[in-house]
Amino acid sequence: MTAPAPLLEVKNLTITFPTPGGTVTVVDDLSFAIRDNATLGVVGESGSGKSMTSLAVMGLLPPGGRATGSVLLDGEELLGRSERELRRIRGERVGMVFQDPLSSLNPYYTVGLQIEEAYRAHRGGSRRAARAVVVEALERVRITDPARRADHYPHQFSGGMRQRIMIAMALCLEPRVLIADEPTTALDVTVQAQILDLLRDLQAQTGMAMLFITHDLAVVSQVAQEVLVMRNGSMVEHGSAEQIFSRPREAYTRVLLDAVPRIDDPFGDLRRVSA
């Protein structure tokens, strides 16, 4: 019996940027795969190329960025596709939660409109019908009084609320693959737990595959079956969550695990980490 084909497969992905000092490689020969109903947690050094990898999957690298290798969605190559072809995939089949919610929301429009347009771009329908979807999406991410809040502008929300709005926006289309780039950094632990539950429930219902980027190793250990550790644009270690957390092989993974601050450690015995 063969294993089921992965929903999202990234092979030998390399991302480069031209800079005045020459071409820099920000992601180097990265490969991974995610199956239906599975979550891959990506952890690693700040600046190691996690966000760039997720942008490359969506075909959204900033100007100058060049991706080579292969990104397969359900066996279909995404790299090199035209903007027009990608449009039908983005949002509908691959949803994305960006890292910096304030700058990722348009300050000129209400959050209701910004969620609504995502829905209507793929499902069509009247604005009124979409409105119900919007209110429900906001409610699911625990925004109180969602019907009224939908008419507010991004700057009228708190940082964590904006983050949840980004999540609501990505989830309202129930994509096959969800790429979540640090989706809970601005959430307190109780709301974070609710949002993680929401993601798990949705995954159980729809079989969504998740690429979950985070710095919170405890969260990773709870949501991910597999973990990818990155540093400096390259993969350091890739394995099951159980293996990474209980039997880390690589030195950098151990450094990371050692550096996790502990709530029962009031003296803050912070180890200095040499680069």
Partner: protein, 331 residues
């Protein structure tokens, strides 16, 4: 919102008062004695004193300024007895040159300047915003380069130069247009249009160039914003992304600029009106400066200041509707 509006208008009034004081000081302290100017060549010291008395020039500065303000708000009377001349509000005094009421002179000239400003504004908005958008969307193509060459021309060529060239080509050489002379619209609409066409084109060219560059730069900045990436990540169509997400942030600053430019033009387009011999406020200003006709200079200066200050208030209020972040803060 209402409180905000009241505050803004009050401060606008204060600024206008300051400007009038400032202008008055300049003309009071720095100009030659108007009485001598009015009196002309055949002048006696008695006559000069008489003129001074009528105009109130023998009074201390503050009294004169107060009379000027009072005249503007409630009207005033010059001289007394049989030779008294009344000047109803808003009184700006009488021209030293023609003896006509400055208010009247401005009233007859203003429609011409307004027509020039309005026509030019429509043209430059269409051309400037259009060219800016085109070159931003087609960045790096020949469209872009062409539009930016055009803009460079508009910015670097002086107004009067463009005016003269246009006049030479269209009027003298090709004889498509008659020589401009402001014909009222009711009299002959075609001639009216023909006589304003060149001033419109000349003015619009300069402004359109600046707008094209601004719009292009703004659109390119907006295209680099993170929220534009979000719009793409949602799978919106290219047209919707441009129309909804890129345009509004890019054009909002243009509103500020437009308000100020348009307000400035209502106060008279000095060079263009002079070159084309249009009897607008700008030409009036040029003439009065040439002849040192102080009341008229004072009048047109205040008019221009009025438009700019009020334009500023209108722009700020418009802004509170266009940018939600400002909107909430002012409430």
């Amino acid at each position: 919102m209402v409180g905000y509006l009241a505050r803004r208008l009050l401060s606008a009034l204060g600024i206008l008062l300051l400007i009038s004081l400032f202008t008055y000081v300049i003309f009071f302290l720095l100009s030659p004695d108007p009485a001598v100017l009015i009196c002309g060549k055949t002048c006696t010291p008695d006559r000069i004193d008489q003129i001074r008395g009528t105009l109130g020039l023998d009074q201390p500065f503050w009294v004169q300024f107060w009379d000027f303000l009072r005249g503007f708000f409630v009207g005033r009377t010059y001289g007394d007895g049989a030779s008294a001349v009344s000047c109803p509000a808003p009184c700006l005094g009488f021209s030293f040159q023609t003896n006509r009421s400055v208010t009247e002179m401005i009233e007859t000239r203003l429609p011409v300047s307004a027509t020039v400003a309005l026509g030019a504004a429509v043209l430059w908005l269409l051309a400037g915003v259009g060219a800016g958008l085109l070159s931003a969307v087609k960045q790096g193509t020949w469209w872009d380069r062409g539009a930016m060459m055009f803009a460079l021309g508009g910015i670097s060529l002086p107004n009067y130069f463009v005016a003269l060239i246009l006049q030479y080509v269209l009027v003298v050489q090709m004889q498509i247009l008659p020589f401009p002379s402001a014909v009222p619209f009711g009299e002959d609409p075609v001639r009216w249009f023909q006589s304003y066409l060149m001033p419109w084109l000349v003015l619009a060219f300069g402004y359109a160039a600046v707008y094209a560059r601004l719009v292009r730069a703004n659109v390119l900045d907006t295209l680099g914003e993170n929220f534009l990436r979000t719009a793409r990540a949602k799978g919106l169509s290219g047209r919707l992304i441009l129309r909804r997400h890129a345009l509004r942030p890019s054009l909002t600053p243009v509103v500020t600029m437009f308000g100020m430019d348009f307000a400035g033009l209502l106060g008279g387009a000095l060079i263009t009106e002079t070159v084309f011999g249009l009897n607008g406020v700008g030409k009036l200003a040029a003439d009065s400066i040439a002849k040192n006709d102080q009341p008229v200079i004072m009048g047109v200066t205040l008019l221009a200041a009025f438009f700019v200050v009020i334009g500023n208030v209108i722009v700020d209020i418009t802004y509170t509707f266009l940018d939600p972040r400002v909107r909430i803060a002012t409430r």
